[in-house]
């Protein structure tokens, strides 16, 4: 049995519209639930009929401390991403350009650590952080996030540096520049495209992290968005409007970034997936 071209086009159209509806449904329902009072038991598919009920948002901000959480997420993501970029680019340069036996070994070790799931070392990491007073601190979670994202960054930078013609660096060497000047003046400015990829991959991962942040950030003044919403959600089982409002507040920054930088997000993710 073969479908006519037109019928087939119709099937594809229904599939696409259906998938889009499925993907948007949770966002839509969060929007309706967050804008209705808990006493409103109308279907969650219906918008609020008596005007928007803002108290859920007020509650998410006061009780859920969502603004503190957004601030914490910005601080942690910014610091950790900058460190990943700086340490990653620096480390990748000698590993890509001086392929001695030692450096190959170091590179392989970094690569191999991509296979270590964060939760597999939960006990020793938490024990270590507890001993050096890193639990519930910015520097503690930043250090863990950096160590988690460095290997992929180093790999992406090293792959990219290997595609840069070495003749540029050799010419500079002949002109009397030393290796450090060559890196900072010649190589570093060329790394912009791969830096965009690294920033997006590491930034999104760190911004959304829950598995480590859940255990490392346990006080309400230190929690980032993900653990803050997790904690608020479990306290608010009878008042899901506030939990939905907290989710939307936590969602807003990434949504705005996505609207403006959509192209970079998709490209960066593909580059990361193919290399990783």
């Amino acid at each position: 049995m073969t479908l006519s071209r037109r019928a087939w086009g119709g099937v594809v159209g229904v599939f696409l519209v259906g998938m889009a509806a499925v993907q948007l449904a949770p966002f839509y329902v969060a929007l309706t639930v967050s804008t209705k009072p808990r006493t409103d038991l109308s279907s969650r598919w219906l918008p609020p009929m008596d005007g928007i009920y803002w108290d859920n948002f007020a509650r998410a901000i006061e009780r859920g401390q969502m603004l503190t959480a957004v601030k914490n997420s910005v601080i942690v993501t910014l610091l950790a991403t900058i460190l990943v970029v700086v340490l990653g680019a620096l480390a990748a340069y000698p590993l890509a350009r001086r392929r001695t036996r030692l450096n190959k070994l170091v590179f392989l070790a970094f690569l191999g650590s991509l296979m270590i799931p964060p939760l597999s070392v939960l006990v020793p990491i938490y024990t270590l952080m507890n001993r050096i007073d890193g639990v519930n601190t910015y520097w503690g979670i930043v250090a863990i996030m950096v160590s988690g994202q460095l290997p992929l960054a180093i790999f992406l930078y090293a792959s990219f540096i290997q595609t840069i013609p070495i003749s540029l660096e050799e010419a500079a060497l002949v002109d009397g520049a030393n290796r450090f000047q060559i890196f900072f003046r010649i190589v570093l400015p060329l790394l912009k495209p791969v830096t965009a990829t690294v920033v997006i991959l590491a930034g999104v991962f760190i911004w959304n992290d829950y598995q480590m942040s859940l255990y490392m950030l346990t006080t309400s003044d230190m929690r980032t968005i993900a653990p803050a919403i997790g904690a608020f959600f479990s306290q608010q089982s009878s008042n899901l409007g506030a939990a939905a409002a907290a989710s939307l507040i936590g969602l807003a920054p990434i949504l705005v970034a996505y609207l403006f930088l959509q192209r970079y997000f998709m490209k960066g993710m593909i580059a990361g997936a193919e290399k990783g």
């Binding site: 270590i116 939760l119 911004w207």
Partner: protein, 284 residues
């Protein structure tokens, strides 16, 4: 001064927060430490022997495999279908891609919270829908098997956009002239797909399968939010169960052994798949 100095800072972070914890976790897995007290004694392989006997852990392990394999299957089928449908020029293509992809960027904790509003028994949005055809209401998250299936589905839908863009990139790398040549030889739609598209998508399939399988085997966030491992311990993955064993059951030694099992599992899967799917070597 050697240029190798450039990787010293990264190496220090790596040794302190990756190598050292891995070794120390390995040591802890041979002890009966509770995670708090100073007392800990060497118990040899006791924790590992206990893992083999532990029926709860056996279920957790089975769940983990279902999360990994189930998500991988659904994401490949849906991701490839979406990529094929959204590869050809059409109106609204960009918007549809953006919508399908959007959840990839959202924290799974937020996705889980929002999905809970759909799946809840009382006033849940999904029950309203099935109610339209006279079915339900269902308690979607009340049984172990049902919850595992829903977690697989939610995880698959959240990350199907990633598979889609990997397949889109793969499709775009296939030169148009292959299709033209085969069409001249009389090949039609299904034959073109089977003999040109699929074989040339191999690298994309490999990338997507490895990413989805590893992601599924490590699943944590969605489970925590949707079921918190319950009812009972029946929907835990190894990742979530490590946290439960460490912080709730206060068995740090036992949790460390689970960590080693998880690490070995992920490493073996990665190496096996890389070999099996014949990817170009990462290094040199």
């Amino acid at each position: 001064m050697s240029i190798n100095l450039f990787y010293v800072p990264a190496l220090l972070v790596f040794v302190a927060l990756t190598v050292y914890p891995l070794i120390s976790g390995f040591q802890m897995s041979f002890t009966n430490w509770d995670g708090y007290s100073a007392a800990r004694s060497f118990v040899g392989l006791e924790n590992y022997a206990r893992l083999l006997q532990d029926t709860t852990f056996r279920q957790v392990l089975a769940n983990t495999v279902v999360y990994g394999v189930g998500s991988t299957l659904i994401q490949q089928v849906l991701g490839l279908a979406l990529a094929l449908a959204l590869d050809r020029p059409m109106r609204g293509r960009g918007v549809l891609r953006a919508i399908v992809y959007l959840p990839v960027l959202v924290s799974p904790v937020i996705m889980g919270t929002m999905y809970y509003l759909l799946l809840q028994y009382n006033n849940g949005a999904l029950n309203d829908l099935v109610g339209l055809v006279g079915a339900g209401p269902f308690a979607w998250l009340s049984s172990a098997n049902g919850s595992v299936a829903i977690i697989v589905l939610v995880n698959s839908l959240q990350f199907v956009g990633l598979s889609m863009i990997i397949y889109l990139a793969g499709l775009q790398s296939i030169p148009e002239m292959y299709y033209e040549a085969a069409s001249l030889d009389g090949a039609r739609g299904r034959q073109l797909f089977a003999h040109i598209t699929l074989p040339l998508l191999r690298p994309a399939i490999a990338t997507s399968v490895i990413l989805n399988l590893i992601g599924g085997l490590k699943l944590f966030d969605i489970i925590k939010v949707l079921t918190n491992g319950g009812p009972g311990y029946s929907t835990n993955s190894v990742s979530t169960f490590i946290g439960v064993t460490y912080f709730d059951a206060q068995s740090a030694g036992y949790a460390s052994a689970m960590g080693i099992v998880l690490f070995v599992m992920i490493m073996a899967t990665t190496l096996a798949l890389n070999g099996l799917l014949n990817r170009r070597r990462l290094d040199s």
